[in-house]
Symmetry: C2
Subunit: 664 residues, 2 copies
């Protein structure tokens, strides 16, 4: 066995293990002119001494400021700091000074393109939330303006989105019916929007952005697909022309409601509806296949609205059965701060709806922002974005808007259409403004079926079956999380579906910690490398040693398991040795490289294990314990019981030193 190590003691920090040095067969090795002596043992260091307060500060800064947001402010003059601070809080000051006519031209084109999508989608999504269609347009006017001042993403197209609309509609409708109490419903919607905004801004301010990370991608894939299926089925109401449709949001009631009211189906409606749906889906397909033709799918919804409205207006008398939007008020967003509802029976509903729609819309907004930032090679600060989205919703709730965020589909169109800055949002808002002021009467005869078709076309993209297949291939437990959020949303309800999915994701982490991998390591001959013998056929067990790798922090949740498992490994190795060459185990080395933390239960386990092995005359050594583990072993006085021959920097040194001590 070619063990090469060097006789150099490394003192640093207050490392204290292995001060004894027993050198056996020192070997001179000449590498690039340096001469070293072999077979020595490196001491394992404790991390630099820090007070509890320093540790707490370091920990807090890692938890809340991992990106060191103020690093740009270091070593700057006062004036520069002021300007940086202004730019930090209002990104508009960062890009506005360099804004040019070329940029404006791109932004106008993209702004008009997304406006043509935003107007029909706004009307449709408002219906999804059981709100009057005009609220959808209001929500496409104020929030984008606010975002353009505060937001740091260049491509985010702000406005109502399908998921948040659906969830708000479902949750509020469970408490209050819009048809029966429209004013109360509106009040609750604005209040929920306000709470959503407060929640989002608070998360950002407290730098708790990592909360949304708990909605893993797997969870979201399942959740979105489930929501998309429900939303699409709900649209059967509009597409088939049913008047008495269930308000429920579960699969079975929706399906049975559609079938039960067969007598209400109107053939004019569903013929026209499915024709437009086919048209929209075809244009969507073209837009996806050929990214250059993105404008086909971008323009299709507006074209459909115009076409269908003309059709219905012309053949008004023959198409009586087709439901239309009806009268829409002209004019700007009326103020709605007087409609916020801060006490009374339904406050809890508004709060809950606000938090859930808040977190969902935040997740979508941040994910969209990050995606397009990384595609276009700039960075968005998650926490700053949260503040921007939160403030935009708070302002929205006072100006007759409901929950808005960055929409994935419209942002994609925005980016494809060549948007360069958030000015495209201002252009879009201006277009919506013109619509609100002058064009509202044109929507009077727009049939509801076209809104249903637009919604289906928009949400169908949320069913990402390819991702689901990939999840199954790569990570079965992620796939289970995905499935459970899908069926949870579909069969039980949106909040419970989400809760189940988050539960499964957290359970996965806990399972990883509760039942970590362990394995026997062996040496790859001629190297200092030790690897799992079941993975590397070359890795050979070292005689008289059992070298075990533990792949997790040792915590209360796994200390009992690890103790049992380690004892079983030792037993199995002993049995194997006895059966194969009759030798016996004399020392157990635990590779602590991947043991990234230890708590008091874990420390007790290590102590216990050492005692148990000692009773069986087995030596226990630890290889490469990490900084925090070393510190805790030291603080709990366990290190002392290990003495001089118990803690090594590498497995190789442990094996070399311990076997040489046997020879001596």
């Amino acid at each position: 066995m070619g063990i090469i190590s060097n006789r150099v003691e490394h003192y640093s920090g207050s490392g204290h293990a292995n001060q004894e040095q027993t050198a056996t067969t020192p070997v001179n090795v000449t590498v690039s002119g340096e001469t070293m002596t072999s077979f020595a043992v490196h001491s394992v260091c404790l991390p630099p001494q820090k007070s509890t307060l320093q540790k707490l500060r370091h920990r807090l800064s890692e938890v809340f400021f991992p990106d060191d947001p103020l690093h740009g402010f270091k070593n700057q003059s006062r004036l520069r700091k002021l300007i940086l601070a202004l730019q930090f809080f209002f990104p508009i000051f960062e890009w506005a000074p360099n804004y040019s006519f070329t940029l404006l031209r791109s932004d106008v084109v993209s702004g008009l393109t997304i406006a043509s999508l935003a107007i029909p989608q706004g009307i449709s999504y408002a219906k999804l939330a059981n709100l009057p269609p005009i609220i959808g347009l209001y929500s496409s006017f104020v929030p984008p303006l606010i975002y353009s001042v505060l937001g740091s993403s260049k491509h985010l197209a702000v406005g109502p989105v399908s998921i948040a609309s659906l969830v708000m509609g479902t949750m509020l409708n469970d408490a209050v019916s819009y048809n029966k109490e429209p004013v109360l419903y509106l009040k609750l919607a604005f209040t929920a929007t306000f709470f959503a905004g407060v929640f989002q801004a608070t998360l950002g301010l407290l730098r708790l952005g990592f909360v949304i990370d708990f909605l893993s991608k797997a969870t979201l894939v399942g959740f979105m697909a489930g929501a998309a299926v429900i939303v699409s089925l709900q649209q059967l109401k509009g597409l088939l022309g049913i008047t008495h449709f269930t308000n429920s949001m579960q699969l079975i009631p929706v399906l049975s409601s559609a079938l039960q009211h067969k007598n209400e189906w109107s053939w004019q409606t569903y013929v026209m509806g499915f024709c437009f749906l086919a048209f929209l889906l075809t244009t969507r397909h073209i837009g996806m296949r050929k990214p250059k033709l993105f404008w086909v799918s971008a323009a299709a919804p507006l074209v459909s609205v115009v076409l269908s409205t003309i059709l219905v207006t012309l053949f008004r008398s023959k198409l009586q059965g087709i439901a239309i939007i009806g009268h829409l008020e002209k004019g700007l967003n009326p103020p709605s701060s007087n409609m916020l509802y801060f006490h009374g029976y339904f406050l809890g509903v508004a709060l809950k709806t606000g938090i859930i729609t808040g977190i969902l819309s935040l997740t979508e907004g941040i994910a969209v922002g990050r995606t397009f930032a990384s595609l276009n090679d700039y960075q968005v600060d998650g926490n700053k974005e949260m503040i921007a989205i939160g403030l935009m919703n708070m302002a929205g709730s006072c100006s007759s808007c409901y929950v808005t965020t960055g929409s994935f589909s419209r942002s994609a169109v925005n980016a494809n259409a060549g948007a360069k800055t958030v000015v495209s949002n201002i252009i879009m808002a201006s277009t919506v403004l013109v619509t609100l002021l002058f064009l509202m009467p044109l929507f009077h005869y727009t049939p509801n079926l076209i809104l249903a078709a637009i919604i289906i076309t928009a949400v169908i993209g949320l069913i990402d079956y390819q991702s689901a297949i990939k999840l199954w291939k790569v990570d079965k437990l992620d796939f289970v999380a995905c499935l459970s959020s899908f069926f949870g949303v579909l069969i039980i309800s949106v909040p419970i579906g989400l809760a189940i999915a988050v539960g499964v994701s957290v359970f996965k982490i806990l399972l990883h910690v509760t039942r970590p991998n362990t394995g026997v390591l062996g040496n790859i001959p001629g190297t200092q490398i030790y690897q799992n013998v079941s993975r590397y056929r070359e890795a050979k067990r070292v005689p008289c040693f059992v070298i075990l790798g533990v792949d997790a922090p040792i915590y209360f949740a796994n200390s009992t398991y690890l103790q049992e498992r380690i004892l079983r490994w030792i037993r199995e190795e002993e049995e194997w040795l006895a059966a194969n060459n009759g030798s016996s185990v004399k020392c157990v080395v635990i590779d602590m490289t991947a043991v990234t933390g230890i708590d008091t239960s874990g420390l007790a386990m290590v102590k216990e294990l050492k005692k148990m092995l000692e009773k069986r005359s087995l030596q226990l050594a630890l290889a490469n314990p990490g900084g925090s583990v070393m510190e805790k072993l030291h603080q709990s006085n366990i290190l002392e019981s290990f003495g001089l021959e118990g803690v090594y920097l590498t497995i190789d040194e442990a094996v070399a030193d311990i076997s040489s001590s046997w020879k001596a």
Copy 2:
């Protein structure tokens, strides 16, 4: 820099990275007679191919059968297997054939000793659960007998315990008052016991024993101390002779109730009470200081009961103010299966009480069993113990017993008194039997104050302030978990206190995963060792490289954080290099040794990171990715994007190979 590695390609599994071999400056190294050539690269292996079903089987066997319980059955004859199975299910068959008179003598001594503790404690604990005192004696008779057949611990002294009694008393009393509806209360107590037993046996049968691991030691220290404080304060009722005392279990109501009813304080009661309390505490102290005198503290409760009963009987007329136990029925446990309550309004209460007392008593029983097993060098199987405790409680609920388990204090006395097998439990049960049949009238004049003093003496040992101090020293977050369970129990309620503590413990695990340690690694000159530069002063940064260690699995909960943090490390290293020697970073190596798992979000992060670094003309390499990580990188096709120079077995090889490729 002395980099020593060996030109040996290791093919195994289907490893495929780094098939290219560019050797620069090969060096001959002679170690113990072998000659090797330096500068070669080992391929990183994929783990052995397994089907989904095989993986699932392996995973399930690790989750549910980590101790391989059937390993003793391998390669045995049929008859032997049958005997082993009998011994497996009924440990009595294991020890009974070798039982001898010497063992019996020890067991009789220890059995009588624990009986002298069990009788007064049984009566006292039953009062703690608001149950008639005799139930405590019943519970010290049937369950120990059942445990002696099924249990595998040699030192467990079975019977009622303080924590489970307190919790049962609190939770049932919230729903039903014993004084108003004694029969319903009794029914609920037996039903809760039944459910506790079913829950415990089910956990054991389904091998879900790890559930109790989630009550970490830190949690339990706080919980027990909180419960002990509450229980002690509750005993002011008995010690001061108050008749109208609160049923509440929170700190403030209990204290204020004791002070409000000052007019009810009886001086005879509290003088006598505090005298006996002082006596009991003194003997307890002696027993703790000198383990040989354990019999002093073991005998003290019975001595106090006898003494106080004689005193009260003699001076009956003068000690009118002292409350006494009163009439106790002679006779054996009456059957109570007809009192189990499986439908109706209070079923939920019984179920909840059963599960919570079940898990608490299980935790105590298993912990006690493990402690004494490890002290006396034998093993107890947690899951088998759970079945034994569960069946014993199920049987108990049908014979007028309430929740029982292994008591810590009595088991310690049992062990000290020299118990050798569970026969000491049989001896104890026989003594209780004699008491039940003949001695019950003797307890008529036993004053309640002595029961209060016994309870206080017993629970005061649960306040383990030394452990709390140690928690503070070693692990601040564990201390927070401890404190929150302490105050949760004291101020809110027992179940909520427990829930908070478990929540804090789980949060700790999540925090560890959400914000893992990362750090820059450097080479210890003359070795192949790479360590954190902030911990090892000798560790030197390698020019042109940023080597980062990541100390956690890369999951959805930390992938965003890790991406930001890694980019920040790179930025900081670039700034540092620019300021110090003007060189630039050309390659980033991530040490994946401690990355024990990766999920789809983590994979997306790695892919994203690679893309981002490529845009900045930085190379990314991974060192020592573990088996499951490697497999997932492979399945998700990310490995391909790394190509030949991206995945290495060690950091050292990565650095050597990449720098040599630059030279070439």
